[in-house]
Symmetry: C2
Subunit: 195 residues, 2 copies
């Protein structure tokens, strides 16, 4: 019957997925676990830390080894895996982008992106900058995409014909930006070779 750190995280994920980030409060989480709010503070020093742990959970799938061999294939694979992880749970993108203010730096995910960029033939410092550029894009796009899903699901049901959705589906739009990025990297490497 004892409350474990693991159970707290499970409870947090459950509330997040059912009711959304706004309803993920310490008090609500405590009561869903049949426990007083203060009890949570034995397992986590504060809410921010708890949310960080939830974010890590969401991003776990990214740690699987990359199967693609080409650098661009690896980047695409990683970007899609990140997006999929964020979309796998309600408000996942918002939570991760909010708690990772600068925590992306510490993440394994970041290092994986960097490695793929290194494989493309970029020097370390450039590869890191390129990795960040791609991460910003994936996060920004996915936060936007997910918030629109929420808005569409209840309320404004495509009232005024969303001005942008003649464009295929969300995945195709995501891929467009990805291709732009990969093209940018390719373009830069080309310059270097020709110089």
């Amino acid at each position: 019957m004892q409350l474990r750190r693991h159970d707290v995280l499970d409870g947090a994920i459950a509330i997040l997925d059912e009711y959304g980030l706004a309803d993920l409060t310490m008090r609500r989480l405590a009561s869903s676990l049949h426990v007083q709010p203060g009890a949570l503070y034995w397992h986590f020093p504060n809410k921010q830390t708890l949310l960080g742990a939830v974010a890590d959970r969401i991003l776990e799938p990214i740690d699987a080894p990359v199967t693609a061999v080409s650098w661009d294939g690896q980047l695409l694979e990683l970007a899609h895996r990140l997006r999929d992880a964020l979309l796998s749970i309600r408000d996942g993108a918002e939570l991760v982008s909010a708690t990772y203010a600068s925590r992306l730096t510490t993440t394994q995910a970041r290092e994986k992106f960097v490695k793929a960029a290194l494989r493309a033939g970029m020097p370390r410092p450039e590869a890191e900058l390129a990795a960040y550029t791609l991460l910003y894009y994936v996060l920004g796009h996915t936060v936007d995409e997910q918030s629109r899903m929420q808005m569409d699901s209840y309320g404004a049901l495509t009232e005024d014909a969303s001005p942008l959705f003649e464009t295929p589906d969300a995945t195709a739009r995501f891929d467009f930006g990805l291709q732009l990025f990969v093209g940018g990297v390719r373009n830069r490497l080309g310059d270097r070779v020709r110089a």
Copy 2:
């Protein structure tokens, strides 16, 4: 002595710049204006709307006409202007990126980016996607940059040698991603021409 909508915004900006977004509460704002909290709700329906108005204020400088003539010059100019606007006030990037969950759609800023992309020779749907891609990058980069400025200013004073800051300065790092993006657009246009 009457409170005007304009004064409320001025007060909000003042609190934001002096104490940060976390301290920008309706109650704190009200008391800084020597008024009861409820008074604010005569001028704004809720906090979200007020923050939206603050965000619009911050982004005003972007509405100035673009001086560059080439499409890539225009994109660089707009991106820098956006970044400068966000950095001009404490937590500006965080506020804008938080309140513009999907409000970027409605913004003049977005349309300006689209126009520059059209000028590059992209068809409408692609130009819109490219504009979003760039916007996500600028917002993501600037939120990160500004949050790090805050962290550096008090507290963790580059204790463990921030792993990434051998790279020049923030502006140079920003430009790297910009060039990557422009290169991506150029690359894509090249394909089209050659095809």
